[in-house]
Symmetry: D2
Subunit: 243 residues, 4 copies
């Protein structure tokens, strides 16, 4: 069982009629109801909850955290951001969606500005699979398409991803590294581009399929146990004939 927490700032949906009509229960709920929840336990957290819904207890009980934010990045408390980072380094998976590229937690884990180009003009988007053997691409065709989306274009100021899975084509003439992974500490991070609040992107079956794959990919493994700090006295080296 994967314990999933979906975090959404949940602001647009409450103040903008158009957005409310697309996501009446919020983006987080649309994702939570849309993904393949087999062996996944879904919980929600939003900005307005105490500690943004991300208490120590909740985070310790989370295997994978999904993050959607846009207009309220600055309102997320630094203390909570530090807490999330710590949990990622301990092994919690993190999936950052769309405008989350400018969230405090993503910038903190990347170390770069995470800036990019954008245009709200309903561009058609094609996401091409450039790493077809990656588990996050499992079950897809050679590309999938979103009828209308906000455009994000290069240059995307991120560290070169450990794995590049999707590259987007936009009808207006741009490209974008739309599906990228990084490892930080014991945790895995997946950035996935689609999901502007004014489009019904989180009802698109391919988008939901990718998020479902990513949840499984990002779930922590019981890895090796590194040891840090002072290592004296010298660790004993075992005798030669002990194999």
């Amino acid at each position: 069982m994967i314990r999933l927490t979906i975090w959404n700032e949940y602001q647009h949906e409450k103040i903008n009629e158009k957005i409310a009509s697309i996501y009446p229960e919020g983006i987080h709920t649309a994702i939570g109801k849309g993904i393949d929840s087999t062996e996944v336990e879904v919980r929600y957290a939003t900005l307005d909850m105490p500690e943004h819904g991300l208490t120590e207890e909740v985070l310790n009980d989370t295997d994978v955290l999904i993050w959607w934010g846009h207009r309220a990045h600055r309102e997320v408390a630094d203390e909570i951001v530090d807490r999330v980072q710590k949990r990622v380094l301990q092994g919690m998976g993190l999936i950052v969606l769309h405008s989350g590229h400018f969230s405090k937690i993503f910038k903190k884990l990347m170390g770069t500005s995470c800036d990019l180009k954008w245009r709200e003009a309903g561009d058609r988007e094609r996401l091409w699979v450039v790493d077809p053997a990656h588990p996050i691409a499992e079950g897809l065709g050679q590309y999938f398409e979103i009828g209308a989306e906000e455009m994000y274009g290069e240059h995307f100021d991120i560290p070169a991803p450990d794995e590049l899975i999707f590259v987007s084509w936009f009808e207006g003439g741009e490209v974008f590294r739309s599906g990228c992974t990084w490892h930080r500490g014991q945790g895995k991070i997946f950035y996935f581009r689609p999901g502007h609040e004014t489009y019904p992107t989180y009802y698109n079956k391919d988008v939901l399929h990718v998020i479902s794959n990513a949840i499984r990919w990002a779930a922590p493994r019981h890895g090796a146990r590194p040891v840090y700090g002072n290592a004296k006295p010298l660790e004993t080296i075992s005798p030669k004939n002990e194999t």
Copy 2:
């Protein structure tokens, strides 16, 4: 169920008494009996079999291939090597052990000389985990040790690995990138250093644990379906409102 084929040139064990006493049924059998075979179906193949035991049928029926060779690299037919490469590119996992670094199949997939330094002097070896979150390191401590082994030292002339999991320390003063992964086509490749024929390395529980992990890691996923070749006429772009 993972269908595993263990390939061994199986020469040393038949002509050298000391080696025969360590591996009376061959290195392949020691590995096959030693690994965690839960949900793994083991099959063996050796140089002397027709088509080296690697017929089209066998390869099509193999999810992961383990390769051990040393003195008879040149006797492996080029046609069979091409066949194995093709299967790796289609998604079969490949685990190359120890002196397999100089095998035709490994050199063909790497594109480099795969040369290195070596010394047969029973050096103690410590394999440090440098990527503790990797599935191949799952369940290990911070390092594990082999009492006596042939030394392999840098520089190891390989393409920079996609992931570096183990770095070996040798008492004689050398280091070596001992656990490396690469992706080629749809297939995953793991090179694992230990296993000189004159030492009982393939009875070491940590070595067997790593190989067991690697088999699971290298097993193919049902990835995306790339399409190659001539793409005309223009592929129809779906209408805008179809999300």
Copy 3:
């Protein structure tokens, strides 16, 4: 002074009138005359020359080799391919252009099929810079454009590049990793997509600018000196107080 050899199979230009009219002296000559030749010494080699113009002497005297081939990949002798590979591993830079993706030398260095999608329909191509700090992108804007080119589309079956510099957008709906680097042995490799024989691509100033940058990037450095082979007896460890 960088010693550059430009290799061209030089077949299309001799048998096709349209191509001959674009490249009357051959693609190799267009490139040789078009690049920034400051501190570069240009030499040409073609398929029809003895040893394809790539004798031991020529290769030993070459710092960077440019490769263009298409219809005659199979006519390149395996012995010459092995010779070129050996020189790359020793440190010679290699720039593979366009249809050279299917050349024997490129496939040998990559270890994959190097397959891709294509369409000859005069698509407009935009090459976006995704690694703006890379020396090969020096002096460019955020993208450059080619009015009409053959389309190459993903999936491109290559090992994940060490550095991804350009991603192409095509008006027909495809994307492509158009500028990729790899390191093999001591040598550097740059694959650069543009250059179908039926378009005047090698007169495009941005294309020539990129090739000029790549020549400088790929030129060998006097690196460290690795040592291979048997390392016994134990190398003496210098006394402690010798810093």
Copy 4:
């Protein structure tokens, strides 16, 4: 001419007699006098200077910044750290030495804990070159040695380096990724392990040689010019026949 600023917290040298006797003018001065200063303009900055010596003016006038810190990481003002990060993203090179692994600036650029193992016991250290073609290794042999140093051991909690150049062997049984590069924004970062304050490491000719190479490698190039932000209206696509 490369404009180099060497930053040192410069505390140990003023309060500890032993360290003062090794570095009477401070670690920064030893490095500044020891490196190959051909075409390099050296400037110093220390913690006690106003703004730690890293004013906007100084940083704008710096191509490469070297960082040594240990006991006073916390005393470095966050505002200055932000300023240094911004300059790195703009293209300034950064060389982080030894205990600088725990500096605020390094952790901010990496996004991880940067933790490691250590032992002060005068271990002999051998730094093996694993990427002999890298400019930072230029002119070295297959390894170089430091008679006695503080040990740093894996696991080193960093993002997988873009390039791994040196791996250290320690006589006590540990290994360490001692020379690592990353790219962040337009800037290059090099972490180099040696240099504990109680050893005369910064007089070692090989250590100084590596630092000299790294200064040249990290110096900014005049790269491509990315454009960020709102990209509307649609950028005009140039006409087809304009190549």
